[in-house]
Each structure stands twice: as C-alpha cells, then as structure tokens.
C-alpha cells in the first residue's frame, strides 16, 4: 500500500505565504478575524490534503491541484482588470443589485437596498464594525479539510449579506466572482456570509467566472444562516476556466419554518468539488438542493451533499442531474442524516446522469443514516444514455440528428432548469448548456 503523500514542501509553501500575509496585515493581526486565520493555518499544518483513501474523496483525485504553488491573492496587491471582462461575465439580463469581486476582493458594486440590509464586503465590515458579524464568522464551519482551512487562513474578503427581520428583497442580488491572472497562479479565498433574519427573504446569484491565462484555485466558503420563516434562494453558477480548479463548501443553518433553496449549475473548471451541507435544526424547515452539472473533455465534477435532520417535521429535496461528454467524470455522494428525534422527516434524493460518450463516467452513492423510525426517505440514482426511441421519434419528424440530440439534452435538464424562479436566468442556463457542450442550441418558441 502506498502511503498518503505528505506534501511537505507544498505545506511549507502555504505556511510561508501565511507569514507574508501577516506581515502585510500589520495592525490587523490582533483582531478576532485574524485569530480565526491563525487557527486555520495551524490546523492546515496538522492535516494532510484529502486523498482517495479518505472515503469522502474516494473518486476524486486532487493531485493535479497539488502540482501548483498557488499564490494567495490576499498576499498580492489588487488585480487590475479591464471593464470589458466584467461586462462579458456579468449576467446583465437579470435586473439586480450587484457586486463584483476580483480574486476574492470587492471591486465594485451597484446597490439600492432598503434600510435594514447590510450588503457588501467582509473586509469593509471588519474595518468598520467587526462586531456585526463576529457571532457568525466565529461560528463558521470547522476547517474539516485542507481546502477549507486554506480558505479560512487566507480569507480577507467575501460577500456579506445581513437582512433584518421582515424584510423581503424584491430584486435578486448578483455577485460576480472573477478569478484569474496572466502572471500568477492564484489562490482566491472568498469567504461569504448570508444571514437572513426572521421572516425575511432574498434571492442571490453567485456567478463564478474565470479570466487570464494562468491556472488558479478558487477555494470558496459560503455560510448561510436562515432564521425562522426566512426564505433564501442561492443560485450558484460555476464557470471557471477550463484548466482551473474550484473547491467550494457551502454550509446552511436553518431554524424553524425556514426555506433554503440552493442551485448548483456547474460548467467550467478542470476539477470542481462542491460540498453542500444543510443543517435543519428548527421544525417545519425545508432544504431544496438542485443541481445541473455538465462535463466535457477531462473535467471532473464532484458533488457531495449532506443534509442533517436533527428535529422533527422537516423536509429535504435533492435533485441532481449530470450530462457528461468526452472523458469527463462525475461524482455524486448524497448523505442524509436523520437523527433520533427527527420524526416525520421527509427526505427525497435523486441523482441522474446521462453519458454522451462511452468514455464518460459517473460514480454515485447515496449515504443514509437514519436513527428515527417514523420517516420517509427515498433515494435513487439513474445513469444511462439518451433514449434511442426519443432520438428516433424526433428525427422521424425531419429534425436533424444534432438538433434531436440537443432537444434530448434540453429535455433531460428541464426538471432542474424549470425550478429556476427567475425567467431570464432560465433562458441563460439553457443557452449555456448548449454552449458548454458545444451543441446546436434549441430555443423554445
């Protein structure tokens, strides 16, 4: 048996980077935020990078990520960027308030929020009113692997949204995260926080896009606190550069009667790992995790979800759909924990994938741990090819073979896409499906 590599040099690289980061911080080094960073870097030093011997990383070999000495963006000065890059990446079809982060730092914003909403940059808040987010930042999810530890150690900025109780945001918020460089292999470490007060609601679009010629690693952490009867929808669109990496952790904490809906649309990136976790700790709350992932070339797209039902009368729904072309690979691991007290839990999970090429592959695994006896849990996985009869049916109407395939692809994706509540975004996602998979586009009349 070969040993788990220690990556001693790489770890030293990051710890040296941390020293430069601290030097740069001069003054900011005694804040509580920095204490969190210090804890994270020391944790980072103690643990190994994830390895396929770890059950959670069984199908995902991250050694390509470890070939690079990524330079944390927080050590470098601000990245200069052309406005056209932002314009191209921005989803302008959706009317919204917006924020642009470049390599994890706030670059610009367009806002118009009612009173009772704090939205913007974590680093600004840390400068002006660190107590505002202390409770949540300090309770941020533990650094359970090297990547979340790196994120915590090198984070200095990120998107923050705090909504007071009873405020319903009417328009969506778009947060564009542009990552990349022409000169450095960068590590971006955005740390995002959404805190929704009682009976508040908001829709947020995270739009992750890459630029530049250098390979980068986007290691992102987002924490969502959904208080009683709040309603939060987060659309997470990931279109990183084809040669770059995206490793993300999302942790939601929900209390009574709250609704949290998360969409992952995963397109670009060489290795993408998304951990999406929700903890239901108030009765009558519901989590909805929807996902559409599209692989081509050598892409590897890994989704791990974890839903923790700790109280009775909660509901969780998960539907993930993958379309895998060329040599791409998908991984889906859906864990559902129903704790002893969580009676009357309703948990539904499904992962379906179509393989467009015989070399494409998916590994899928449900993981159910149920300690309550009065629960409804269903899970299913289906992997296959596009249906021959449907293909024939469409072509038998005179429709060319490539368009027929596209129609089938759209048909396969539709139950996830139809859940999108922003019409303009629906069309954009449909468009991106065909663009990413290099197929003729089918647009509905």
């Amino acid at each position: 048996m070969n040993k788990i590599p220690e990556n001693t040099e790489l770890k030293k690289w990051y710890s040296d980077q941390f020293d430069s980061f601290e030097n740069k911080l001069n003054g900011g080094a005694d804040t509580y935020f920095h204490q969190i960073r210090k804890k994270a870097i020391s944790r980072f030093g103690e643990i190994d990078f994830p390895h396929q011997k770890n059950e959670d990383w069984k199908y995902t070999n991250i050694s390509p990520v470890l070939k690079y000495n990524f330079k944390p963006a927080s050590v470098l000065s601000e990245t200069k960027i052309e406005d056209s890059l932002i314009e191209n990446a921005f989803i302008s079809e959706v009317e919204c308030c917006s924020f642009v982060f470049v390599n994890g730092r706030l670059h610009s914003s367009k806002t118009n929020f009612p009173e009772g909403v704090t939205a913007g940059s974590l680093s600004e808040i840390m400068k002006k009113n660190p107590e505002l987010v202390k409770q949540h930042i300090a309770s941020l999810s533990e650094n359970d692997n090297s990547f979340s530890a790196l994120n915590a150690a090198f984070s200095e900025d990120g998107f923050v949204l705090l909504i007071d109780k009873n405020i319903q945001l009417e328009k969506p918020i778009q947060v564009l995260f542009l990552t990349g460089s022409d000169t450095e292999n960068l590590l971006a470490a955005p740390r995002n926080l959404i805190v929704a007060g009682k009976n508040s609601s908001a829709e947020i679009i995270f739009n992750y896009r890459g630029f530049g010629s250098k390979v980068y690693l986007n290691s992102s952490v987002t924490e969502v606190f959904a208080d009683d009867a709040s309603n939060i929808t987060l659309y997470n669109l990931q279109e990183e550069n084809d040669d770059s990496f995206h490793i993300e952790k999302l942790q939601a904490h929900q209390t009574a009667s709250s609704n949290f809906t998360h969409f992952s649309f995963t397109l670009g990136g060489k290795i993408i790992r998304n951990d999406i976790n929700t903890k239901l700790s108030g009765e009558n709350s519901a989590s909805h995790l929807w996902g559409l992932y599209l692989g081509k070339n050598e892409q590897l797209i890994d989704h791990h979800t974890f839903i923790d039902h700790s109280v009775p009368h909660c509901e969780s729904n998960e539907l993930f759909k993958g379309i895998l072309d060329d040599n791409s690979r998908g991984v889906f691991n859906g864990k559902i924990l129903v704790q002893k007290d969580a009676q009357k839990t309703n948990a539904f999970q499904s992962n379906k994938a179509v393989l467009l090429n015989k070399n494409a592959k998916i590994d899928t695994k449900p993981q159910l741990e149920i300690y309550a006896d009065d629960v409804k849990c269903t899970h299913g996985a289906a992997i296959g090819r596009l249906d021959d009869t449907a293909y024939f049916y469409i072509r038998s109407r005179g429709i060319p073979a490539d368009v027929a395939k596209s129609m089938q692809i759209r048909a396969f994706a539709t139950d996830v896409v139809e859940k999108i509540e922003i019409d303009e975004l629906k069309e954009i996602i449909n468009h991106k499906i065909f663009e990413h998979l290099r197929r003729v586009e089918v647009v509905n009349e």
Binding site: R410, A411, V442
Partner: protein
C-alpha cells in the same frame, strides 16, 4: 407511392420481418392487421428508419427512391410520416417549437422558405381546431403529461401540419374514446387525397368504418399471409385469426 419487396428485418438478432411484399399506390389506403407481436410496428418502424431494426434483405422504394439507405430525418423530408403507437414525451420542448422546427426542415428540403411565426400559428390553430385540441397544448411540452388520447391527437396534428406523402399510422385508434376516434378519423380523411397514401395498422374493424381501406392485409410472424378488400376486416372481426393461421400452416413454410 411505395414498393416493398421481400423485406427482411432483425431485432436484437431475431428475424421479425420475414419477407414482406407490398405495393401501395397514390390515393390508396391499406390496413394492416394481425395478432400481437406479428411485426406490424416493426414494419412501420423499419419504413421510418428506426436504427434498432436491422434490415437483412429486400428493398423499399418511395416513388422510385431507395428508402433503406436514408436516415430517418431524410425519409421524413422525402415524405414519410409515422404516427407512433406510443408517442414519445419530450419535456422542456414545446409542441410549437417541435412542430415548427420539423416543418421548417421539411420545407427547406422542398426548397420552400421558412414559415413565418404568423403563418405557422394560423396553420396550427386551424388544424388544432379541427382536431378539437385546446390551443394551450401548443405551449406545453411535446406529449409530456398528455393523456393517451391527447397523444394520439397530437400525432394527427403533426400529420396534418407536416403533410407527408405517405402516412404510417400505428394503432392511432387505440386508447381513443368514441368521439375522439371520430375526430381523429376525420383528421386522417382530411389529410387523404389522390396524391398521397396511408398505411394504417389497427386491431379493430371499428376504425375501418371511418377510414375505409382499399386493401386489408394480415401480418403473421413477419409475413403477409392474406390480403383482401375491406370485407376481409369484417371476416376477421367475426372469425379471428385462427383460421388464417391454420391455412397458412397447412400450406407450410
């Protein structure tokens, strides 16, 4: 219109069609009957070009052109249309999109211009009206969640809009209530003219009261074992297939 000579076809290595000969002329309606599993749908699918069926012998000419070499979409553009026994659901693609895409492909092949949105709507509305279909069906996904009868009507709507030369109707009558059967039959009769042809597969004489065939053929174990006029269907209704099968087996193959 279509000439089928000694057609043999396999599915998953099994010989399902074992020497079919059939000649259908312009303006004619042919009914194909026969017990379950005799190969009726297979014949229809082979004619429309389903790739799961392997043609192992014989020839099919549509107005003199060799059909068997053509992809399904090319056959459609040449004027073949198959109304499916089990129409396929395509969620996420609206009926309007589907039909318009198909129509424009076929028009392109005929050297005609793309149809304008307005003309298309006029055409489809008119046909839907005749078939007693709610206009809302246009914005719904193709066959998704349609009832059995609605799916069959939708097939006939496609037939009416695409206006092929040869219509293959595979059990279009099954699953229809009595009123729907009338409406759908009227749809087929409206389509029918002296320049096109219809091959319809059915189990029931009832349909043939509405769509009167010029010929009736009985398919059994992949061969036509009996052909006759419309009175053959009545005879079958009365006597079943046994007597024919016995006759066929007595002749010996």
């Amino acid at each position: 219109m279509i000439t089928i000579k000694n057609l043999h076809a396999n599915v998953a290595g099994n010989g399902i069609l074992r020497g079919i000969d059939l000649e259908v002329k312009k303006g004619e309606v042919h009914a194909i009957m026969g017990p379950n599993g005799s190969g009726k749908s297979t014949l229809a699918n082979v004619l429309a070009g389903h790739e799961a069926y392997e043609v192992t012998g014989g020839e099919v000419l549509l107005e003199g052109k060799d059909l068997l070499d053509m992809a399904p979409e090319d056959r459609a553009r040449e004027g073949v249309f198959l109304a499916f026994q089990y129409p396929v659901e395509i969620p996420g693609i609206s009926n309007a999109t589907f039909l318009k895409t198909a129509l424009n492909e076929i028009r392109k092949c005929r050297g005609e211009e793309e149809i304008s949105a307005k003309e298309f709507l006029q055409l489809v509305r008119k046909e839907m009206d005749k078939l007693g279909m709610d206009e809302k069906m246009l914005s719904r996904s193709v066959n998704a969640g349609f009832s059995g009868g609605e799916k069959k009507r939708n097939e006939i709507l496609q037939l009416a809009v695409l206006n092929p030369k040869l219509a293959l109707l595979d059990e279009t009558d099954s699953g229809l209530d009595i009123d729907a059967l009338k409406i759908v039959s009227e749809g087929v009769n409206n389509f029918k003219n002296k320049d096109n042809a219809v091959i319809l597969v059915t189990h029931y004489q009832r349909l043939l009261n509405y769509i009167v065939p010029d010929f009736v053929h009985v398919l059994y174990k992949g061969r036509i074992i009996k052909s006759g006029g419309k009175e053959l269907a009545l005879e079958l209704e009365e006597k079943g297939y046994d007597w024919l099968i016995k006759e066929d087996e007595a002749v010996g193959v």
